[in-house]
Symmetry: C2
Amino acid sequence: MGEVICTVDVVLLTIEQEQLMVALSEREHVPFAGRLALPGGYVHAQDASVFDAAMRVMRAKTGFTPPYLEQLATFSGPQRDPRGWSLSVAHYALVPFEMIGPAAAGRLSLVPVAALPELPFDHGQIVSEAVARLRSKSHYSSLPCFLAGDVFTLPQLQRMYELLMGEALNKVSFRRKMGEMDMLEAVEGAFGAAGAHRPAQLYRLKEAYRARVMTLERGL
Amino acid sequence: MGEVICTVDVVLLTIEQEQLMVALSEREHVPFAGRLALPGGYVHAQDASVFDAAMRVMRAKTGFTPPYLEQLATFSGPQRDPRGWSLSVAHYALVPFEMIGPAAAGRLSLVPVAALPELPFDHGQIVSEAVARLRSKSHYSSLPCFLAGDVFTLPQLQRMYELLMGEALNKVSFRRKMGEMDMLEAVEGAFGAAGAHRPAQLYRLKEAYRARVMTLERGL
DNA sequence: TTAATAGTGTCTGTTAGACAGTATGGG
DNA sequence: CCCATACTGTCTAACAGACACTATTAA
């Protein structure tokens, strides 16, 4: 069968104002030209892999390289694309909001995943599965760190974990776990902008953990 | 790009004699005709999805429907297949050995994953990732149950978990967990074939769990 | 009876969470 | 001083693992 339409799509996720947001772009071509959909594109003969194709799409549509990109799953069937039997290798990317801000002012629109509009193809389902995967992995990995910026405070990071996991976390336990993971280092002399109270220590990921995911044996 | 070669491959796994085995089939066509490789095939226009294609391949090559089949990941690139830029949506299937026995007498060969021969394409890597996924999920899910037959004893099931996880498990804890999962039911009046010692109670999966995977919050 | 494995009751150490205290900023 | 939030020490409850004991079969 040579007539399979092969594409990649990327679910680009970020957190802004305590909300998980997905980046959508206006489609330039038929079908669904002008509609908001996941950024994606055809697999090219020049791509070294579908991962490479997803990276290329990200760079083209956002102007940056996402700190985290992973294959999600492949969605396929005769009905999902009006052009015919199609297959999309879906990926998901995580970026801090500061990074996506400029791009979002241009062709990308950030939409809360909690209030997603109807999307073309099966993009609604793809977003659901990406969010489910991120939520699931947040229980036992350092994935949420890729949504934080270069430096962040522990209260900020804990709020991100809580947001993704959908439940309140015990402060003492959370800090104990972060300590055990031995993944963060304090940024000397720098403190988070405080209100009328004690400011929080700033941290950053240790060098070794900026390119890989840390996983915990017993979660949280 | 219309020239992407779209295929599915299935890593069919079973346990025999305390060893995790993968089912390989002799390739009928070029490239690599006559070589042992993962059972697979082209995606057809009649398939409702790549999952459907994988099911069709399983039925054609084994004569049965595997109790568990899940998409693993998509492997792709210009080099992996000498025919050109190709993409394979890899799946993995779990079956009890009793089910695969007859088919294994025919076209399928069961090979221990611990002593895998060199495989064509990137099938070696695909098997590795399937095994890694199964091992990982065995820590916190009911997946190993799909490798057991209709009925089994708790010592048998524990040995399967230990085999997959690569570590000895505490008997009391294991039974406590199985109890909490509330997934098994004793088969009345039936006991495992015993030697010169007390025979073990036989169990089976409760109806509700024969078609889905149970996951544990805190592993084991 | 003995040997061998199945199954269980209970103790103990480890881990997670609750709670309350101290620390440090602004007003 | 007060308030608000950051951080920490410590007690308690929940859980997992070790151990030892009973149960049940064949020889």
